[in-house]
């Protein structure tokens, strides 16, 4: 590996010591995993009848179609809505008119500060109970409101991160306010925002798991049906977690591809930085 700047290139004694650390660490991790597997085995969690359901075609279909597909649909619609809402609120927050700026600020602050679960319960009271409303849409709308507010903040930060000279130069050649925003600031801000939008997709996807508490369809909902019927809570948990992780990793892969393809490897600012790994990522939770 390329040498990290955080520590000196190890000498022969340090190399030997690190080798010992590595071996000890491997042994510890392996022992922990082995112990965990043994405990699960001892508890009967690997018995065939606890896993059979995941190889039964009907239930695999239920898991993937009623579960995964619905989860993906909710997340996709929510992100679509969130990008639109985020754009509207973000531009609203940047507006020069206090009458536009303040309501946008208020909406963003409100939906950012309220827990998604609480919001979901509420949209479900408000929308899900209507004759043609459904918990599905309650989840989509709750996630749209929350992620939209987050993206509004991201958009604002993105626009403000564009060097001031850009806008000044645009005004200097006689562009109008909307032109400056649309032609100069937005395209550059969008590049800065892209990683954040994608990581917000992961957030939205994970938050769909909360839909179970408002009877919305999705992976967690199906998993509850399965473990109640087959009394296999732990295996179900493992399968559902694995599905979520795989989908999220694929999403992250897509994100890094999009970023490489359309944004470029790194911003020039990163060159002066220290870490050796692939640079700081967004920290959305």
């Amino acid at each position: 590996m390329s040498a990290s700047v955080l520590f000196d290139a190890p000498g022969p004694r340090t190399v030997a010591r690190h080798r010992v650390y590595n071996v000890v660490a491997v042994l510890l991790v392996a022992a922990a995993v082995a112990w965990a597997l043994w405990r699960l085995y001892d508890d009967g969690q690997f018995e065939a009848d606890k896993w059979e359901v995941f190889t039964t075609p009907d239930y695999v279909r239920v898991l993937l179609v009623d579960g995964l597909l619905n989860t993906l649909k909710m997340a996709f619609l929510a992100i679509l809505g969130a990008v639109v809402l985020g754009f509207v609120l973000g531009v609203g927050k940047l507006s020069e008119h206090a009458l536009v700026r303040w309501p946008a600020w208020l909406v963003v602050e409100f939906f950012r500060a309220v827990p998604v679960l609480l919001l979901m319960v509420f949209t479900w009271y408000a929308i899900g109970i209507n004759k043609d409303g459904s918990p599905f849409w309650a989840v989509v709308i709750a996630l749209t409101l929350y992620n939209g507010s987050v993206l509004a903040e991201v958009l604002r930060a993105g626009v403000l991160a564009v060097p001031a000279g850009q806008a000044e130069a645009a005004y200097a050649i006689g562009m109008r306010k909307t032109q400056v925003m649309n032609i100069i600031l937005m395209p550059q801000a969008a590049k800065i925002m892209l990683p954040a939008i994608i990581s917000q997709c992961v957030v939205a996807l994970k938050d769909t798991a909360l839909g179970i508490f408002v009877t919305a369809p999705g992976l967690t909902f199906v998993s509850k049906q399965i473990y109640l019927e087959f009394n296999n809570r732990v295996p179900t948990m493992i399968v559902v977690a694995a599905l979520y992780i795989v989908v999220n990793l694929l999403l992250t892969l897509l994100a890094s591809w999009v970023q490489r393809r359309y944004v470029g490897e790194k911003s020039p600012l990163d060159l002066t930085r220290v870490g050796t790994m692939d640079g700081g990522q967004s920290t959305a939770v």
């Binding site: 990290s4 700047v5 955080l6 520590f7 000196d8 340090t14 690190h18 650390y21 590595n22 660490a25 491997v26 991790v29 965990a36 405990r39 699960l40 508890d43 969690q45 602050e109 409100f110 950012r112 500060a113 309220v114 827990p115 998604v116 679960l117 609480l118 319960v121 509420f122 009271y125 992961v202 994970k206 769909t208 798991a209 909360l210 179970i212 508490f213 967690t220 809570r233 732990v234 948990m237 559902v240 977690a241 979520y244 992780i245 999220n248 990793l249 992250t252 990163d270 002066t272 930085r273 220290v274 870490g275 050796t276 790994m277 640079g279 700081g280 990522q281 920290t283 959305a284 939770v285």
Partner: protein, 228 residues
């Protein structure tokens, strides 16, 4: 509204649990996140890999599943938190609180690690080179030079991680902790006619906590920025 106003003690007690969950998990996740980031950028390859795997897995797992794990799978491993029996006033911190704190801590620490790593990346090269030049080992470089600066640089993202934690405590509602969201559901079920008002009251409670924390974070950031 009356439902909440007539039961203000229950309302405040519920938010008390929310705040306790946040404080304990907040401190622990910051500590664990710091350890993780040291492993992640450190010289031991296996630890680096372990930390990276941990962060990847946890970042991509829904919080509900973390909670479910510590409520229903951990007892198989003999992890039950039954030793936890702390009673302060009318508050009880027992096994459920313990499981919730551990779930929230392990979940949040992955994000703390990511945020801090961005902070580590923001520390100017010369700082580290100077530290190594005067003979500091890795531990010294990290604890004396890099991490203190990384914390300052990463304060805004770390603050949003902690704000997310405040909101994430709501998931504990269905895992045995009588915090605000659980209390809200109790209210909405007992006083079905006042759902909307009850929701607004509880939303306000969360907003107050989040805004108070944001305020502190912004002030600290300003303070630290001056000090730099």
């Amino acid at each position: 509204m009356n439902a909440v106003l007539d039961n203000l003690d229950a309302y405040f007690k519920a938010f008390g649990y929310t705040i306790f969950l946040f404080l304990v998990a907040g401190v622990l996740s910051t500590l664990l996140g710091t350890v993780l980031v040291a492993m992640r950028v450190g010289p031991v390859a296996v630890l680096r890999g372990a930390a990276a795997t941990y962060v990847t897995v946890v970042r991509n797992t829904p919080l509900v599943i973390m909670f479910a794990f510590f409520s229903f799978a951990a007892p198989i491993f003999g992890i039950q938190f039954k030793w936890l029996q702390v009673h302060v006033g009318t508050f009880d911190f027992t096994a459920f609180f313990g499981a919730a704190v551990v779930s929230l801590t392990l979940y949040t620490s992955a994000f703390v690690c990511e945020g801090l790593r961005a902070g580590v990346n923001a520390v100017p090269l010369g700082q580290v080179e100077a530290a190594r030049a005067i003979g500091l080992p890795f531990g010294g470089v990290m604890s004396q030079v890099v991490l203190p600066q990384a914390f300052r640089a990463a304060l805004p993202p770390l603050a949003s991680v902690q704000i997310a934690l405040i909101k994430n405590t709501s998931v504990a509602a269905v895992f045995g902790v009588a915090e605000a969201t659980a209390q809200m559901r109790t209210f909405t079920n007992s006083f079905s006619s006042e759902r909307f008002g009850i929701f607004v009251c509880f939303a306000i409670g969360y907003i107050v906590i989040v805004e108070a924390f944001s305020f502190l974070a912004t002030r600290t950031e300003r303070h630290w920025r001056v000090a730099l």
